[in-house]
């Protein structure tokens, strides 16, 4: 298998999941696709390193996290708003769509690093150590960011009840 073939196989296997993560991070489908494209192109440019990594999957998540967090300054002027028109055609009823929109809206209300920590820990199910590596920070920082992020997220969602899953 050539490098290109290996890369293509890897990219196809990861691109949709990366897009889901990116959607949670960015709140917008277009922005998520941009982020995933940037991530996967970088992965191609450095494919030899990616392929040699202990976990190529973790490597590209770190790449995407870095790319996302570094967008901050560049994108400051860009409005970061949830798409105002939810895609009702995906599945489920309007109540579910509203609920998903609320979750994404609530995520966007979190500071980027808190949002990133919450998504990596509670959507990607990465450990605290893995999340710390991906974010380039200490485990303690991850704990703090996640704790604060979750608290904020719960407050926001509790304030806007819909038919979300509850425990």
């Amino acid at each position: 298998m050539t490098d290109d073939q290996a890369y293509a196989e890897f990219a196809r296997a990861e691109m949709d999941q990366l897009t889901r993560v990116a959607l949670l991070l960015t709140g917008q489908q277009q922005a998520a696709e941009d982020l995933v494209q940037e991530t996967l192109v970088r992965a191609y440019v450095h494919w030899k390193k990616v392929a040699r990594a202990d976990s190529p999957r973790a490597y590209v998540r770190r790449t995407m996290t870095n790319a996302f967090l570094r967008q901050k300054e560049r994108d400051r002027a860009r409005p970061e708003l949830l798409g105002s028109v939810p895609d009702a055609a995906l599945d489920g009823g309007y109540g579910q769509v509203d609920a998903r929109a609320e979750v994404r809206q609530a995520l966007l209300a979190l500071p980027r690093r808190q949002r990133t920590a919450v998504v990596l820990r509670h959507y990607e199910h990465m450990t605290e150590a893995e999340t710390a590596r991906a974010m380039g920070c200490a485990v303690g920082t991850v704990k703090s960011l996640t704790s604060r992020g979750l608290a904020s997220l719960r407050n926001l969602l509790d304030a806007a009840p819909s038919d979300r899953t509850r425990t």
């Binding site: 293509a8 990219a11 691109m15 949709d16 959607l23 992965a43 450095h46 895609d87 998903r100 979750v103």
Partner: protein, 391 residues
């Protein structure tokens, strides 16, 4: 209580499939690679041009015996690219690289006011000094590359690199590519950004770029060895993992000719020779070692890494030492608390059989290394380190 994980799962589920096929990602990746190379080349070329311009205004070059002295007027700041400009250019060219550090070496007080120490070297400024001294031949350089993780006394792997100056752009050396036994490679470019400063840029496969800057040199006098020093710093900062084995490959060292061939030491025979600070038989002046240590520079090791190529306009690979014996070049490694991870390398040319320092390579003094009494040196003899007198 909201089940966050379920909520995130649902929200993420609204993502549409990623629409760009892998082959388009590959095409974009290839374009990105090509653009990166082009921008880097452009950035370096800009520095080269500026460096050449700097050299052009460098003033009068005078010949005196076998040395050249450049008397350089102050360099207009506009003529010299700044370190920040280069860093910016690199960041633009290599966005995915991690710029580890830029570091300005402290001015070496030994360089100040000691111009006379460099007699015997041709010097014009920057790397042109190397070019002149090597008569535009490829100069075989043995780099001492140091990993901060190395234990005290552990000898870094010595790699062989070929570099040569470009006659068309004497202010810059062609990139030297260092190849490690584990397959890792580092490329390094030394740039002269002003008459009195050098910049070393190293980039490695591990995604690191390091810019090291040496400034405060006496104008027009950039002695041989400073490029090595910059390289060493850059690579030390890069933290290239190295093991602690081996020395230079004898096969890549120039073979001595004539009587020297029989007497010339092999790398293996040099192993164990002067390996510790307490037994450095080829150090000319023990007091200098004491001074160096008093200054906080602890001598870690002494390794002889190659036979001399040329110094003082004399090609020692074609000639022999003053007593018909082989000549070796020894690098003395020093630690420096101001520059953790960096070992200073001092060069001494040494007659293997007579144990005389035959070189006029006084730059070792500027490196904080062993000094040779001028009278003894003139006579071609230096005291033995044990104080027993000239060999």
């Amino acid at each position: 209580m909201i089940d966050v994980e379920s909520a995130l799962e649902q929200a993420a589920g609204t993502a549409r499939p990623f629409p760009i096929p892998a082959d388009r990602l590959i095409a974009e990746g290839r374009r990105r690679r090509a653009r990166r190379r082009a921008v880097l080349a452009s950035a370096l070329a800009a520095v080269v041009v500026a460096g050449a311009a700097t050299a052009a205004v460098g003033g009068v070059i005078q010949g005196r015996d076998d040395e050249l002295v450049a008397t350089a007027p102050p360099v207009p700041s506009a003529a010299a690219p700044t370190e920040a400009a280069l860093v910016d250019a690199l960041a633009e060219a290599l966005p995915e690289y991690r710029l580890l550090a830029t570091r300005q070496l402290p001015a070496d007080p030994m360089l100040e006011g000691n111009d006379s120490l460099y007699s015997g070297h041709r010097r014009i400024g920057g790397l042109e000094a190397n070019a002149a001294s090597t008569q535009n031949r490829a100069l075989s350089v043995n780099w001492q590359v140091v990993s901060p993780g190395l234990a005290d006394g552990e000898i870094p792997r010595i790699v062989e690199a070929q570099t040569r100056t470009d006659p068309a752009a004497p202010a810059v050396a062609e990139p030297a590519e260092l190849i490690f036994a584990d397959g890792g490679r580092i490329k390094t470019q030394v740039l002269q950004t002003a008459v009195s400063s050098l910049l070393a840029v190293s980039w490695a496969d591990n995604g690191t770029v390091v810019v090291a800057r040496l400034s405060g040199l006496p104008e027009g006098t950039v002695p041989n060895g400073d490029a090595d020093r910059l390289f060493a710093l850059a690579h030390a900062l890069a933290g290239i993992p190295l093991d602690g084995t081996a020395a230079v490959d004898p096969a890549t060292s120039p073979a001595p000719a004539g009587p020297a061939a029989a007497a010339a030491p092999t790398v293996q025979s040099l192993e164990g020779f002067g390996r510790t600070a307490d037994t450095m038989p080829i150090v000319g002046d023990p007091q200098s070692r004491t001074n160096a240590e008093a200054a906080g520079r602890r001598i870690l090791d002494c390794v002889s890494v190659s036979r001399a190529v040329e110094i003082g306009g004399r090609d020692w690979t074609k000639d022999t030492g003053p007593n018909g014996t082989g000549v070796v070049r020894a690098l003395y490694l020093y630690s420096d608390p101001d520059m953790p991870g960096l070992l200073h390398a001092s060069t001494v040319l040494f007659d293997w059989v007579t144990r005389q320092v035959v070189s006029t390579d006084s730059q070792r003094s500027a490196r904080g290394g062993p000094k040779v009494d001028p009278a003894s040196e003139q006579a071609g003899r230096v005291p033995c380190p044990d104080g027993s007198g000239p060999a």
